[in-house]
């Protein structure tokens, strides 16, 4: 039995200790916004936050997630109105959309570390794979969100 805090809510799950966090989030807790892509932490579709840091949940054992604040795409903002989500809509980033919740979670972790990221910092952070080729829009939207968040802070 594992006690987890997901999106601010305490949950307990009875699962084997080596089951990936992704499957707990999706199958046990019903939070299906986080996607399965490659299963080997390569594509980033499964990205969630542990204490604000991005982790690839398909390769992350649930036993290592206890005692941490887990945030999924459903918990990124109360009304899907995070500056990144607004910028995503403004720039029409999603195409098929499958990778985009992972993209958003990676981008949120990036902005937490670098509120005004450089192109190089974006390139290093955003290794998520998108088969629709949305990366130029992703980059533009991250810059837009950074600008909006900066303006909001001011």
């Amino acid at each position: 039995m594992f006690a987890l805090n997901v999106n601010g809510v305490n949950r307990s799950v009875d699962v084997p200790d080596d089951i990936p966090l992704l499957w707990v989030i999706r199958e046990e807790l019903g939070l299906t916004g986080t996607k399965f892509g490659c299963g080997v932490a390569a594509c980033g579709a499964c990205t969630v936050h542990l204490d604000g840091e991005a982790v690839r949940s398909c390769a992350y054992p649930v036993s290592a997630a206890t005692g941490h604040q887990i945030t999924t795409i459903e918990g990124l903002s109360p009304n899907a109105d995070h500056a990144l989500q607004r910028a995503w809509v403004e720039h029409q980033v999603p195409q098929c959309g499958y990778c985009q919740s992972g993209m958003l979670m990676s981008a949120a972790a990036l902005l937490r570390a670098h509120p005004r990221p450089t192109d190089a910092q974006i390139d290093q952070a955003m290794t998520n794979i998108c088969r629709c080729g949305t990366h130029p829009r992703v980059k533009a939207a991250i810059k837009r969100a950074a600008q909006a968040m900066g303006t909001h802070r001011a």
């Binding site: 080596d18 080997v40 932490a41 390569a42 990205t47 840091e53 991005a54 982790v55 690839r56 390769a59 992350y60 054992p61 290592a64 990676s106 981008a107 972790a109 990036l110 937490r112 570390a113 670098h114 990221p117 910092q121 390139d123 290093q124 952070a125 955003m126 290794t127």
Partner: protein, 183 residues
Amino acid sequence: MREATRWLRALLLVGTWTCTGLASAGNAKAAGSAAFDPIYRVLTHPRCLNCHTSTGFPRQGDERRPHDYRVARGTDDHGAAAMRCTACHGTSNNGLFPGAPRWSLAPLSMAWENLGPGQLCQRLKDRRQNGQRSVTQLVEHMSNDPLVSWAWAPGAQRQPIDMPKDDFVRALQAWAVEGAPCP
């Protein structure tokens, strides 16, 4: 004739002193080489060297390729934002993914790539570059640190260090007892 004899004696003396000095330096180098060679063999194994790189990224595999997924060193040697080492690596091996406490790259001051035995030995002992560790602390670190010990149990299909851990520790201790000589 006496003058010539004096010169000859002087030359012999200088020659003997020089040879003795060279022989002594040579012996020290040989002793350093004998004591440090097994340590060098371990420290330049891919399990160690892949994260003791001089590059802006870790390496992986026995062929020492750049880490998959464009993983970068980052400013604190723990990866870039949103691509921290801990995004995939935990405190123990997990299936495909190796893990140990404090999984990260070694700082650039501890990069060992492309160093010969003498250079690596000197860098290892240089307290300005080795995290202010004395030889005793180096031996302790390399004997007991879980991240170092991981290299003998790397999990999955990874090749462990090809020298038993106990032999490595004995080699470290012998090297320290000899005064940590460098080749």
